[in-house]
Amino acid sequence: MIPRIYRIERRTEEYPGAFTVHLAPNGEDVVSHDFSPGQFNMLYAFGAGEVAISMSGQALPGRSHTVHTIRTRGMVTSALARLREGEEIGVRGPFGSGWPLAEAANKELLVIAGGLGLAPLRPVIYHLLNQSKPRPIPRFRLFYGARRPEEMLYRSELEAWNREMEVQLSVDHADPSWHGNIGVITKPVSSADFDPKGCVAFLCGPEAMMRFSIQVLMERGVSPADIYISMERNMKCGTGLCGHCQWGPNFICKNGPVFRYSDVRNWLGIRAL
């Protein structure tokens, strides 16, 4: 699959080391870029390489734009970070499975995000808030943990969401100007008032954070079959051909990145693959 050329229409700094780009197809050839929340694109920084990056914008049918939030890690993400508005990026996708929103119908949805993990879950939140009433997913709330308040994504949106849904924020460290929760995100999850038998949880964040959150959910009585996680592994083709992202019997790019926890719990426990 050959990358399409997109142009950076808008670039915003989330915090030093993390930024969001709004991409539009370059030239006349306007293609729609339909996707399901949870899917990802392969973004190509010319001369540097390709990386898997989730869609973090709204999944609106027929829309040609695509939005991504990226944290600078190594060579490719640093090359992407150097690009400015007007410059070009190669885009392949969308790839992978999305979040199983249908599984949450008539249940309560717990969206649990850590750090950059809010990016692949933001399309879910847009979806939830845009549902027409009566809402197919009647109750939903967000638990979002980050290292510091300054390292939270989408800060102005978090405030706006908080007016429309329950948002529980928690940071590991903060100075006295922060008046919210300080502590790990598992704490508000463990004390939240929800029916463990009538809920579905979507988790995305560092793997250790997801493991600890799963422990808490299961202590509360949530079934492993009602917990979904989004996995990250280095990728090359994104289409299930190269085997680079193999994880047990699965290719994360094709069978994932979203998995039902009960289907993959044996693989999550393996320390090195």
């Binding site: 980050a146 590991d172 006295p176 919210g180 929760n181 790990v184 964040g205």
Partner: protein
């Protein structure tokens, strides 16, 4: 207005405890209200109380010279604060500061200790409840040490 015994029943910490025991413990408690900035406890001072937080947010802090107060954790309605009254030298190890208006039930530590000594079954039950909470807090502190959201885990978390 609700009695202390009724309020104990509402708080998770005492839930499921037989009514007589709740009434027995209620004799050690009183309602207390703290305004934003008030301290529930100060490091090094006598730890005479145990707090059941009913509402509001409490910052557990320590003072770092040349830096100021460092908040380690916040607690809210449904949480408890303070077990230093259980063990000698009965002194607070951290500051606890109200971040907004805090409604709490303040239980006298000495009175509770005496009741636990007088009724070992109650004492054991309460200690089990404290142990569960201290274990959870320890686990949370360990996770915090992992610096999960950083670029890479710290080389040796928790090493002193």
């Amino acid at each position: 207005m609700k009695t202390i015994a009724e309020r104990l029943q509402e708080h998770g910490f005492f839930q499921g405890l037989p009514r007589e025991q709740q009434n027995f413990i209620a004799g050690c408690g009183e309602n207390s209200v703290f305004q934003s900035g008030d301290y529930l406890a100060r490091e090094g001072e006598p730890a005479d109380y145990f707090f059941l937080i009913r509402s509001g947010r409490v910052a557990v802090e320590t003072f770092v010279p040349n830096h100021g107060a460092l908040c380690l954790q916040t607690l809210e309605g449904g949480d408890i604060f303070g077990w230093s009254w259980l063990f000698p030298p009965y002194e607070w190890t951290f500051d606890a500061r109200a971040q907004d208006t805090v409604h709490a039930i303040r239980l006298n530590g000495k009175c509770l200790r005496e009741k636990c000594e007088a009724e070992p079954a109650l004492g054991f039950e309460l200690l089990k409840r404290f142990a569960r909470i201290t274990t959870a807090r320890l686990k949370e502190a360990r996770i915090q040490l992992l610096d999960l959201y950083g670029d890479r885990p710290p080389a040796n978390p928790g090493a002193t």
